[in-house]
């Protein structure tokens, strides 16, 4: 029955063809400057800037992002893991590609 359900519900879709998204997720040579900082500026710095950051968490430069990631709260919040405060507050979740880039950057030692 499950096999029949599998066959009946099986699709070969991709976002690129269906939605015209911008192409493959680039996770090669992910660095803070090229990938992470633009994401921070777009998604985080509005509330977590250098001056009077929300919850006292600043994400405005490399050192502050490093400190936040190393605290163990950042990735869980961005990924909306259970037990974490989902971020960005009131905004949309990061796309799978953005999260993948963040994880790749983290796993590669968070290069600047």
């Amino acid at each position: 029955m499950l096999l029949a359900l599998s066959l009946g519900s099986c699709y070969y879709d991709n976002k690129e063809d269906m939605y015209g998204t911008s192409g493959p997720c680039d996770t090669s040579n992910v660095s803070y400057t090229t990938h992470i900082k633009p994401l921070m500026d777009q998604q985080c710095v509005g509330c977590h800037g250098a001056t009077a950051p929300s919850a006292g968490i600043s994400l405005h430069d490399y050192a502050s992002v490093l400190a936040s990631v190393n605290s163990g709260r950042f990735i869980g919040s961005v990924r909306w893991d259970v037990g974490y405060s989902p971020m960005p507050k009131g905004g949309s979740k990061w796309t799978p590609c953005q999260i993948q880039q963040l994880l790749t950057w983290y796993h590669n030692g968070m290069p600047q």
Binding site: D13, K15, E16, G72, S92, H107
Partner: protein
């Protein structure tokens, strides 16, 4: 806290009940529990038997003492397995990872006879991602995007009375992938082993990998885990150290989840209760 109380309640009930009933856990290594860490063996619980399991995976150990070495970041999965017959097993589970629910059937093709050292089973699984559609950022959004399927041929062998190991060729089908170059069908392979240190204590190992070589679904850090399991009455306690955060068959082998170095490993445990 609620999870903890649930655990305590189930444990207490189980200890009481275990003293009253015959132990349905098989004596051979392949049948002592249905999962090594995440990977299923070819075994089923047996006709009329129900197995309840709780799985937890924590954050990276490298998070340090402030986060109790990953303890503060936890993923949970709860599930039930039921033996419709000695050969046919079905199960359901819910994972916090991706808010994913799954259901599976597993049919044991060979290995029920005591004289046989081989186990052979077919497993088919369907997973449904339960995240809100607006999170996906796709317009229009189709419910079929949520689905993934897993098919596995599980081959296990009891090499000696103390050593059980097997291999698991399979395929994961993802209904929606990122780009036209990403494969929807990802061939996979897994391997597992269980070694009995003493009658109620086993060491376990498992690894999986994607065979979509050269594609975006090739893994640089395939999931792997080492474990130790203790059998107490009708309970099995499994402690593990591995690099995968997901516990769901449809997700664990389709994306890198953690490098294999000392700073990215994570602890986990499974608690199993069989009736």
């Amino acid at each position: 806290m609620r999870n903890f109380l649930l655990l305590v309640g189930l444990f207490a009930a189980g200890v009481t009940h275990a003293q009253e009933s015959a132990n349905p856990l098989g004596a051979d290594l392949g049948h002592q529990s249905l999962r090594i860490v995440n990977q299923q063996t070819a075994a089923g619980p047996g006709e009329g038997h129900l197995e309840f399991f709780i799985q937890h995976r924590f954050g990276d150990i490298a998070q340090g003492g402030y986060n109790a070495f990953g303890f503060d970041q936890s993923q949970i999965r709860l599930g039930l397995d039921y033996g419709i017959s000695d050969r046919l097993t079905t199960g359901i589970a819910r994972s916090s990872w991706g808010k994913t629910s799954n259901a599976y059937v597993k049919y044991q093709l060979a290995g029920l006879k005591e004289s046989s050292r081989w186990d052979l089973a077919w497993l088919s699984d369907i997973s449904v991602n339960g995240e809100q559609s607006n999170i996906w950022g796709l317009d229009p959004f189709y419910p079929s995007h949520r689905l993934r399927f897993v098919h596995q041929l599980i081959v296990g062998r009891e090499w000696t009375p103390r050593f059980y190991a097997g291999i698991v060729p399979g395929v994961v089908h993802i209904n929606l992938v990122e780009t036209a170059n990403d494969p929807n069908d990802i061939p996979t392979v897994g391997a597992f082993a269980r070694y009995s240190v003493k009658p109620k204590m086993n060491l376990t190992w498992e690894a999986q990998n994607s065979l979509a070589i050269g594609s975006s679904k090739a893994l640089t850090s395939p999931p792997m885990a080492l474990g130790v399991e203790f059998i107490e009455g009708l309970h099995i306690f499994q402690l593990s150290l591995g690099n995968a955060l997901s516990m769901n068959e449809a997700y664990i082998v389709t994306s890198d989840q953690g490098a294999w170095d000392a700073s990215h490993l994570r602890l986990g445990f499974n608690i199993v209760r069989r009736w």
